[in-house]
Symmetry: C2
Subunit: 601 residues, 2 copies
C-alpha cells in the first residue's frame, strides 16, 4: 500500500511561495499567527492524518455503516477521530476566539482539510459537516442557539449536517416542501422527509444537529419561501438532558464509494413532535444556506483534489517500483525490464495527474485566500476578493471534481490489472471520487450558476476583475524569457474566453435563455482550463525565479518537476479550449430542438 498521500513540500510551496499566506497575519484578526503557527498546524494535521485517518482508509470502505435495530453503526475509528478533532480544536479552528476557535486563516483550514481528506475522505466528512453546520449557527443563529449547540458540536460530541434534499427536490431546491408550523412556544413543528443526508445519524456521536431547509406554513412558493432551521435528533431539555425529537432514520444508502460515511434518509415529525428552531429570519433560509453551500462547494473541490492526490502518489509509487517492458528501440529480451515510470505513456499519465492535483489545489487555496480577504480585508481588497470568490466557486468545485475523476482513472490505468483489484487503493479512490461531480450541486448546476448568474452579475463586473487578475499574471510571466511562450499561450486562451463570453452573452437575448444556457457545461470546462492555466503560470513564475537562484539539488528537482508539469499542462490540456470555444460560438440549439420521440426507437 502506498504510504504517501500528499506532498507537504507542494503544500508549503503553494501556501508560502506562491500565495504568501503569511501576509494574512498583517490583518488584526489573524495577527496572533505567524509562519510558525502555520507550520505547527500543518505538521500536527499531518500527524493526525497519518495516525488516525490513513490507516482506516480501506477498512472504512470494506466495512461500511450498518443500520441495525434503529442504530447506524459506523466504523470504530470515527469516534476517536472526532474526539481528537474536538480536543485539538480542529472543528472550529477558523472560528473566532470567543467561540473557542483559533482564528486560523481559511487558507490554513483548507490546507488541513486537504491533508485529512487525502488520508481518508469518508472520515473527514464527519468533521467538515459539523464545522459547516456550526458556522451557519455562528453567522445567523441566536446567541441561545449558539450556546446550546456549538460547544457540543465543536468538541466533537454532536454531529452537524446539512439537510436540503428531498425526494422531489434535489437540484431543484425551489421544490422543498418539508413544512414548519409555528407554535406559541417559539419553536416550529416540523413534518417532512429528507434524503441523501450525509452523516445524518450514527453512533460515533451523542446527538445530531440538522441545519435544515423547510417552508413555514403559508410561505410563498419557490425559493423565496424557504427558511432555515436547527433540528436536533435529540432535543436538550432545560436541565441539559436530551429527549427524542421525532427525527427518524428510514434507512441508509448503499453506494459506489464514499462508503465510510453514512448517507441516510430521514423523516421528521411522524408523531407530530419534531421541534425545529428558526435560524435568522423567516423565508431567508436559502440565502443563509448558500453561505454554507458555497463553502461546501469549495470543500468538494478540496476533497476531489485530495483524493486525486492520494491516487497520484499511489500510482507514482507503483510506477517507480513495477518493472515491465523495455524502452522502444531496445527490445533485447535478455536485458532487464525497466520500471514503468521509464515509459513515456506512463509519464504522460503521471504528469496529467500531477497537473490536475497541483493546479486544482492552487486554485482552491487561491479561493481560500479570497475568502480570508473577504473576511478580514477592507474596501477594494475585500470587494475584489468577494467578487473573485463568488465567480470562481463553481470552477473550484467542478474542475477538481470532473478532472479528478479522469485523473484517478489514469492512476488506475497505470497499475493495469492491479489497478482494478482490491489489493491496491486505486479502485477505491476511483469509487470515492465519483461522488464529487454530483454532490453540493452537480456540474450542470455549477455551469448554469457560472454562466447564467456569476458571469452576468453586475454587468460582468466580477468577470472583468478576473480577466485583469489573469492578465496580471500573464504580464508578469511575459517578462521572464523562459515563461514568455506560456504567457502567450495563456493570453490567447484568455482572449478566447473573453470573446466567447461576450458572444454568448450577447446572443442570449436573441436565442433565448434555454439555448443560451444549453452548453453552459462546456463553458464551465473552458473557464476551468483557462483558470488552471493561470494557476500553473503563477506556479511557474515562482519556480523559474527559484531556479534562477542557486538552490540545493533536491529543491532544484522540485522546481524542475513543477516546470515539467507546467509544460505538460500548456501542451496537452490548455489546447482543449479550442474545440470548446468553437462549439460555444455555435448557438444552434442542437440539444434544445429535439423531439422526445427521437429517443424512443
Amino acid at each position: 500500500m502506498a504510504d504517501k498521500f500528499y506532498s507537504q513540500r507542494n503544500l508549503r510551496f503553494l501556501l508560502y511561495e506562491v500565495l504568501r499566506a503569511e501576509s494574512l497575519t498583517e490583518y488584526e484578526y489573524y495577527s496572533d499567527h505567524d509562519s510558525g503557527t502555520f507550520d505547527l498546524t500543518l505538521e500536527t494535521a499531518a500527524r493526525i492524518a497519518r495516525e488516525t485517518l490513513f490507516p482506516y482508509l480501506e477498512a472504512m470502505d470494506q466495512n461500511p455503516p450498518d443500520y441495525v435495530d434503529s442504530v447506524v453503526k459506523v466504523h470504530p475509528a470515527v469516534k476517536p477521530f472526532l474526539q481528537a478533532c474536538g480536543e485539538g480544536g480542529w472543528i472550529c479552528a477558523g472560528s473566532p476566539y470567543e467561540l473557542e476557535g483559533q482564528q486560523l486563516p481559511i487558507m490554513l483550514t483548507s490546507a488541513v482539510r486537504f491533508i485529512f481528506m487525502a488520508a481518508n475522505y469518508s472520515a473527514s466528512a464527519f468533521l467538515i459537516l459539523t464545522s459547516g453546520a456550526g458556522r451557519l449557527i455562528e453567522s445567523f443563529g441566536t446567541e441561545e442557539l449558539a450556546e446550546t449547540y456549538l460547544p457540543k458540536m465543536y468538541s466533537g460530541h454532536w454531529q452537524g449536517t446539512m439537510a436540503l434534499t428531498e425526494p422531489q427536490a434535489g437540484s431543484s431546491l425551489a421544490d422543498v416542501k418539508t413544512q414548519a408550523v409555528p407554535t406559541e412556544e417559539g419553536y416550529y413543528l416540523l413534518k417532512g422527509e429528507k434524503i441523501f443526508i450525509s452523516a445524518a445519524d450514527h453512533d460515533a456521536v451523542d446527538n445530531v444537529v440538522h441545519l435544515l431547509l423547510a417552508r413555514i406554513e403559508g410561505a410563498p412558493a419557490g425559493v423565496q419561501g424557504i427558511s432555515l432551521f436547527v433540528v436536533p435528533k435529540l432535543r436538550p431539555r432545560q436541565d441539559g438532558s436530551l429527549e427524542p425529537n421525532d427525527v427518524n432514520t428510514l434507512g441508509i444508502y448503499h453506494k459506489l464509494g464514499y462508503r465510510g460515511s453514512p448517507i441516510a434518509q430521514l423523516s421528521f415529525g411522524d408523531r407530530g413532535d419534531c421541534r425545529a428552531y428558526l435560524v435568522g429570519e423567516p423565508h431567508k433560509g436559502l440565502s443563509y444556506m448558500f453561505q454554507m453551500m458555497n463553502e461546501s462547494r469549495l470543500e468538494v473541490g478540496v476533497g476531489a483534489a485530495a483524493i486525486a492526490s492520494a491516487a497520484f502518489y499511489a500510482s507514482l509509487q507503483y510506477a517507480k517500483e513495477r518493472p515491465q517492458g523495455r524502452k522502444p528501440g531496445t527490445k533485447d529480451p535478455t536485458l532487464p525490464q525497466v520500471p514503468i515510470i521509464e515509459h513515456a505513456d506512463v509519464r504522460r499519465m503521471l504528469l496529467f495527474q500531477r497537473a490536475v492535483v497541483e493546479g486544482a489545489l492552487g486554485l482552491i487555496l487561491q479561493c481560500a485566500k479570497y475568502a480570508d480577504l473577504e473576511r478580514v480585508g477592507e474596501g477594494e481588497v475585500k470587494e475584489r476578493a468577494t467578487l473573485l470568490l463568488n465567480l470562481l466557486t463553481p470552477v473550484a468545485k467542478s474542475y477538481p471534481s470532473e478532472m479528478g475523476v479522469v485523473s484517478v482513472s489514469q492512476g488506475l490505468q497505470i497499475l493495469g490489472g492491479y489497478g482494478y483489484c482490491d489489493e491496491f487503493p486505486l479502485q477505491q479512490h476511483y469509487r470515492d471520487m465519483r461522488i464529487h461531480p454530483i454532490h453540493e450541486g452537480t456540474t450542470g448546476i455549477q455551469a448554469i450558476t457560472l454562466l447564467g448568474r456569476n458571469v452576468r452579475a453586475e454587468k460582468g463586473r466580477a468577470f472583468q476583475v478576473y480577466l485583469k487578475e489573469v492578465e496580471r499574471a500573464v504580464a508578469e510571466a511575459g517578462d521572464i524569457p523562459d515563461l514568455a511562450p506560456y504567457a502567450e499561450r495563456l493570453e490567447q486562451a484568455l482572449v478566447t474566453l473573453r470573446d466567447v463570453t461576450s458572444k454568448v452573452l450577447a446572443s442570449a437575448g436573441d436565442v433565448g435563455e434555454e439555448v443560451f444556457l444549453a452548453d453552459a457545461t462546456l463553458y464551465l470546462e473552458l473557464f476551468g482550463l483557462v483558470t488552471i492555466g493561470w494557476q500553473w503560470l503563477l506556479q511557474g513564475i515562482v519556480a523559474t525565479r527559484a531556479l534562477a537562484e542557486s538552490v540545493a539539488e533536491i529543491e532544484s528537482a522540485f522546481y524542475r518537476g513543477k516546470w515539467a508539469t507546467l509544460r505538460y499542462f500548456f501542451h496537452y490540456e490548455l489546447p482543449k479550449t479550442a474545440p470548446l470555444a468553437r462549439r460555444l460560438c455555435e448557438t444552434d440549439g442542437l440539444t434544445v430542438r429535439l423531439e422526445r420521440a427521437w429517443f424512443d426507437d
Copy 2:
C-alpha cells in the same frame, strides 16, 4: 430497474441498412443463410439475454465467485446459461458445419455477443472465452486435440481460457517464463504461474482447458521463443475419464467490477505432473495467440459498447421518468416540474452516450464484416478486408473502451445521487466498464500497435486503403445536400489525420523511436474520432435517404434520432481532433526528457 439494455431496431439498422449483412450470403460458406436465419438468430439471442442473463446482472455482481475448499463457486445462473448456449450451438455458432458449427457470419455472432454482453457482461465472458479458445484449437491444433476438446467445450461442459499473463509478464509478453519440458510421450511437462486468468476455474463446468503460452526448454529469449499449449485442468485418460493435471488455483482476485466472472491466479506443475499439449509448431505461439487476441480485442470493443448501451438505456429511462426543475425562463415554482430529459444538459449527455454506443457498435460490426470478408472473400476483397481489419482492431478495441468509461459516467451523472447508489444499475456499469481499457492490451499498448506497427506496415498500405474507404463515404455524403456540411467536416478531419500521420512518421528517424511513440495514445484518440465520424457519416447517409422516402412516423423518429446524434457527434466530438493534432505535431519529447528525481519532491 431499466428493462431495456439495447436497441434491436438499431442493431438491425446497422446490420442490414448500413452494412448489408445479407450480402455475405452470396458467398458459398454463408450460402445457407438468409435474412430469415439472421432474424431468427437475433430474436433467439434476445430471448436468451432477457431470460437467462439480464435477470442475474445485479445478483452476479452482489454475489461474486467465492474460493472455498479449493473450489471456485460461481453464481448458479452460470451453469444453465452455459448449457443452454451449448445446446443452442451458440459457443461455436461461427464454426464450420463439420465441427458442429452453424457457419454464421462473424457479423451475426458479434451482434449476438453484443446482445448478451449488454444483458450481463460477466456471464457472457464464460461463453466468449470458451469460444475463442476453441477457435484456436480449430485453427492450429491437431485433429486429435480437436476431437478431444472441442465437443466438450462447444457443448458448454468444459470452459476454455486464454492464459498469457504472468507476474512479471503483463503488457510485456516477451517475458513469459512458464517452462515446458518435452517428454518422450509427446506431451510436455509444464511449470510456471499465470495470473489474471478469466474463468480459469469454476464449478459451472466439469473441466477447464487453458490455451497457454509457455517457453519450451532451451527456446530463444523474447517473443520468438514462445509456444502455445493446451493445458487442461483435468486431463482425459484413454477411456475418457478425467484425472487431475497438476493445475492449481492459488486464489481469485477481488475486483472493482466484472465481478460475476472469476479471475484467478494459477500455478502449473507444483508436483511435476502437469501435461501440456503443443498447438501447432514450437516457438510460433505468439502468432497463433494473436489470432485469438485480435478477436478478443474486438470482443472487448463489443463488450464496452454493450455495457455503454445498457447504461444509456438505463439513464434514458430515468431521464424520461424523473421530474426535476423547470426550463430556464419558466421558473414559476407553482408549475409542475418537467422530466429531466427536457433539460438541454441532460439531452447533451444522452446524445453523447448514444453517439458513443451507436458509433462504436457501427465500427465493431464494420470490423466484423471485414473479418467475414477475410474469411470468405477472395483476391482484392479479401486483401482489403484483412488490411482494414488489422489496422482498425486497436481502434475498435480502444474507442469503445475509453469513451465507454466516459459514456457510462455521463449516464451515472444523469441520475445524480441515485446514480451513485446500488439501487440503480449505473454504478455497476461504471465499475464493470472500467476493465475494458486494461484487459487484452491496455490502451497504451493498442496505441503503440496502431502507430508503431499497423500504420507503418508495408509503407502505410493499410492506412492508404483506410483513407480511400473514408473518402468514399465523404464523397457519397457530399452529394447529399443535407449531409454535405458534415462530409466537409469529416474531410477536414481526415486531412488532419493524414497530415499528422505523414509528419509524425517522417519525424521518426530524426527524433528516435521513443519520442516518435511518446504520444501514440493521442494518435489513437485522434484516429478514433475520425473513424467514428466516418461511421456516423455512413449511418447519416442511410438515415437521410430513408427520410427522403415516406416512412411511418415511428420510423421517421428513429432516423431523426440518428440525425440528431450525428449532428451531436460532428459539433461536439469531432472538433476534439484539433488539439490532439496540434500536440502530435510537437515532437519535443516533453514526456521523454524528464528526470526521475523530478518526481521525488
